[in-house]
Symmetry: C2
Subunit: 437 residues, 2 copies
């Protein structure tokens, strides 16, 4: 029975504990090192620390670097790590072996693939993206528009949509590339990867997917969708560590023709010949740039050991149970504060996160004004429930199925309710100030 469609079901903490007891993924919680007293609902921004990571990074530092020194480029396989770890990410996104490689940041990886994709559609002068993209995607595309469009006398044009429903309004034979984020970073709204890709292809354009909020959270089938390029992040649901390397996916059919923008030596066909001229490596390796940041790569390597054991269907099932439970509890317990669930209520359209917003204004239920999402978030963080806030008014909660439990969800809503009921969010220490990350 779906919790979200069963408001008549009485849920209490014991119900949640029973769901935890029956959870096939419950054992993964022990593979993470979360601080005591914390309910961590921000794994969609920075994933939790896998318990095995510190020892693995220390081994790389002490043994591979400290003792192996320069020899580790061969002996420890350092040079091939970006490709080797790419192959381990591939099953998480419906990609084949040899189609994925690590990049630097998602921003620079998007630059790499957006230039390459644009070059595969010469003469077409438009890049389509969406207003709700994580902003760096739009910023990076501005750079691509200027550089990649210069040979036709000026920047490429940008067309922005608000939703996949708008796609038909902007697609035409002048569109080179469409860059969309599979799961929206604010609302968790999820696109139909296959259907959007199909529509973009019908217009003769190429499809670039940003999987930052998808990988490790929802099923992704790039091969099934027949997409062209993708990039993604490993420090969110994949738990690779702060700023761990991005990844790049290039469909095998494009690899021989795709020309990246950053033509560094690690993407060269024969990097150790030290020749004068650039020649791209075979396959996705040509999208590599320079020397990988190997301590951060080591963090990712340790986290991928966890992912090797995850059943992705069970992951999605638990993710939906968690978000449905959260939505249901918000609906039933927070209704009097006029809380709006901004994320899609339809499971198929929702990633693994839920965004809330306070509606209304003026007096309501005896309270003098609407609660402020920023202050409420600070107050619950002060109580150990960690989500985050996105201006102007969204409280975000991410549900990483590997370490978030049903009782965590219960406790989070209980703290939210208590903070709202006792108005502790009004304390001056929770007032907005400065930049909000």
């Amino acid at each position: 029975m779906s919790l979200a469609t069963s408001p008549q079901l009485t849920i209490d903490r014991a119900t949640c504990a029973a769901l935890d007891a029956a959870d096939p993924l419950a054992g993964f919680r022990e593979r993470f090192d979360l601080p005591a007293g914390v309910v961590y609902l921000d794994g969609n921004s920075l994933g939790a620390l896998p318990r095995a990571t510190p020892a693995h990074v220390e081994l790389v530092i002490r043994e591979e670097w400290g003792t192996g020194l320069i020899r580790s480029w061969n002996d420890a396989g350092w040079f091939d790590k970006p490709r080797a770890l790419g192959d381990r990410i591939a099953p998480l996104i419906g990609a084949a072996q040899g189609e994925v490689v690590l990049g630097d940041s998602t921003s620079s990886s998007l630059f790499q693939v957006a230039v390459a994709a644009t070059r595969l559609r010469p003469g077409r002068r438009v890049i389509v993206s969406e207003r709700g993209s994580f902003p760096t995607d739009l910023y990076i595309l501005e750079g691509v528009q200027e550089l990649a469009g210069a040979d036709a006398g000026g920047p490429l044009e940008r067309r922005l949509i608000d939703d996949e429903a708008d796609l038909d309004d902007v697609l035409g034979d002048d569109v080179a590339v469409v860059v969309l984020t599979h799961v929206n970073y604010r609302t968790g709204r999820m696109y139909d990867l296959a259907d959007v890709t199909r529509r973009v292809h019908e217009a003769g354009a190429l499809m670039v997917w940003d999987l930052c909020h998808s990988v490790g959270a929802v099923p992704v089938d790039l091969a099934g969708a027949g997409a062209d390029f993708a990039i993604g992040c490993t420090y969110k649901y994949l738990n690779g560590g702060p700023g761990s390397p991005s990844f790049i996916w290039v469909a095998e059919r494009h690899q021989a023709e795709a020309r990246p923008a950053l033509t560094g030596w690690h993407g060269h066909a024969r990097p150790f010949d030290f020749g004068l001229d650039y020649a791209p490596a075979d396959g996705v390796a040509r999208f590599r740039v320079g020397t990988p940041q190997l301590l951060s790569v080591a963090g990712l390597e340790a986290s991928l050991d966890v992912w090797a054991d995850v059943d992705l269907e069970a992951l999605r099932e638990k993710s939906l149970r968690l978000t449905e439970l959260f939505i249901s509890l918000v609906d039933t317990r927070l209704a009097r504060w006029d809380v709006e669930v901004v994320s899609p209520r339809q499971s198929a359209r929702r990633g693994s996160q839920v965004a809330l917003r306070f509606g209304g204004d003026g007096m309501r239920d005896g309270l003098p004004e609407t609660a402020d999402g920023y202050a409420v978030m600070q107050a619950i963080i002060g109580r150990g429930v960690i989500g985050d806030f996105r201006a102007p008014d969204l409280m975000r909660f991410g549900f990483a199925p590997l370490y978030v439990s049903h009782t965590d969800v219960w406790d989070a809503v209980a703290v939210l309710e208590d903070v709202l009921a006792t108005e502790t969010w009004r304390e001056p220490r929770f007032a907005r100030r400065g930049a909000v990350t």
Copy 2:
């Protein structure tokens, strides 16, 4: 008295031990964790492990990531690390505070500054570089030539020189940018930074310096030279760890006008406003791209603690003593194997490394053929003396003054002599095979 110009001076191991005893930098050796029995002469490729690094990285992993979680973006100052560490690198290269920021790899950082520099000289269609650059610089510049030149109807032209003596042959009013490596990665030959910069400016072009083999090895005075842009590496002499982040220097006078290629959100003026349009940050921060790889940044942070205590004049003095001693011992003890010192013998023209090559062919001193540099290098590595080999024929030895001693130099040459005299380099296990890193 200069060792290199005093072949009559009798040097023995006791002389070297006396030099070590009088070495004002000798105490730094204890701040590195080098394996027993190793003489490490490859710090010009990958620096040694500072003793404090493992604990610092572990603290970042366990406390900042594991316990602080997303809060560390503010509480641990993660967002500002690339600028904060840039300010700590600045004194090592003659830069002011606010002029240096961390990048991803040196390859991607060169792309960033080369596009920006080219844009500051519109209409000029030539980029000058040199045949002896580390190849990724040439490869990256090919990418820049194509993208940044497109608005004038085709790629920018590349002109390559062999030495600064050739500069006048290629400089003209069509040259936009000159990209040179201060210290050559193969031979250690060092350019006159100020003089070359002056000549480039006289031609109306901008000067981009690659400091990969300079920073932490030789004096660098970018401000004194009046240079325009620079990039460099932190995993060689700075000991930041394998693949630790590059840095970017932009002279203050260019910062307001310079437009980088990769316009990511970490280089945005107001990254947390999440606006639709790119607006560059003030100052060098606009050269940032995406989220920094913070475990690798942590490695660099620990190594910069060491550098905060280094007297750079004493560093250069010791560096020259080490390279002069090495050259002198090679001249006196290895002469019968026809070893050529490829690096400049003039101190002012030499970085902190020395390259050797075997000359001649056929019979010599009773040996049937010339020694093979690759095999000799493998043989001495097998004996614990770690340098490296660069095709087709160079044996490279780097002398990182913080952890290489005069007795190390003695022992290295003694092992070289023994390997050559006993012909152990002829053993089949030292034959060339496959890629050489």
